[in-house]
Symmetry: C2
Subunit: 255 residues, 2 copies
Amino acid sequence: MSDSQYQQRKAFFDQLLTIYGRKPVLEALQDPAILIYKLHLASSNREDGIIREIKTLAEQRQIDIEIHDRKALSRISKNGKQDQGIAADLQLSAYQPTSTITKTELSNNKRRYIALDRITNPQNMGMIIRTVAASGIDGIILPRKGGAPLNALVIKASAGTLFRAPLFYCENLAQELLRMQADGAALYGLSSHAKQSIFDNDSNQSQIYILGNETDGVSKAITANCDTMLKIPMHNGVESLNVAITAALIAFLGR
Amino acid sequence: MSDSQYQQRKAFFDQLLTIYGRKPVLEALQDPAILIYKLHLASSNREDGIIREIKTLAEQRQIDIEIHDRKALSRISKNGKQDQGIAADLQLSAYQPTSTITKTELSNNKRRYIALDRITNPQNMGMIIRTVAASGIDGIILPRKGGAPLNALVIKASAGTLFRAPLFYCENLAQELLRMQADGAALYGLSSHAKQSIFDNDSNQSQIYILGNETDGVSKAITANCDTMLKIPMHNGVESLNVAITAALIAFLGR
């Protein structure tokens, strides 16, 4: 395989998202807008109603079906306890590496992204994806590891919008944020201790808003590199907002 | 008892919110900002650590303790299955009847409220209370019945902000909304099918935004009386937002 062939194949596989569980896989198959690269079944599955329905849909859509032993399937799903003997590789329409957010992109436009630094609650993750997708801002930036995995719980909490939300993934969030900063984006960390309000931020640069972990906020390493820390002004002695609410206010209101 | 004494007593008891369960009651006792009228214990409670802690705190704060048999306690908590033998009547600092939102109030000011028409999920209810409290708008209007009860789940989901959120209760939401409309408020129902965006609404009247049930939206009777139905404009084929997200956008919008 030549180097460029390898890069192409790598880019293709990087864009696949593996989901698992009967209901999420069935729902993905029922949605013609979702491209499915491959269906994986455990040989131990009983041929009951939902498995038959899944197989029939996959055959109608001419999707490759691979049969694995139970162990091999759990290596694919990476969650043997919850995969229910089924997984599928999805080609999400708007799931791509952050390398596609280039210097030209960042410096010639006023782009807006929300970056997720260790959001661990799948409910929050799903709600953020749904809200950001609805808002029409340019996307969500998230590392492949260190946050809630994009699994059935997140798909459900996203009300199925995960499949078409503009998601940009990277391996190392801190590094990639630094790179985008160098390429023209301003980095704004959210913190309830910040002095400046998100509503008083009228920069003309491309903007990346960073939301931190539900308990301890934006990590120190990333905070150190932020241009400015921003808060949402709060009344009535309320000390913090749910992270998905914060994401919504940034996505829809902070312009 | 004279008529005015009766009215005063009624107003006092109307303002009490009864919560139940060991942890919620303990947390309420630990917060000096929360006024507690009475503590109710079932005679069947074992004197374990948390019950002793609760009793000690109540004695230190000179709060009346009443002991009931199990059945009487479940009539007080209205949830015998989950009360764990304990309930408390709270005097919330900002829990009052909608009758306090008078014609003078509505017609001489530009007030903003969010009314909840059958929000049934306690997570959503709590998140709405927390967000609206933080936003500083004038309050949440909700009927006493027909939505998620203000119980331990809601308190937890509100991150404790229920105790200081501006909550206005009524018996019949549809009727009370009509009254406030006659007294000068504009009624806006939220619907994803509406034509006008919440971002294009620049009325100078007092405003009441009505959020409907998670599944079927604002009820028909209330919709019929709305001045205008409003939507949140959405991208990427997203069909709806979580109701707490919608509440957040409205609450923080007209700053």
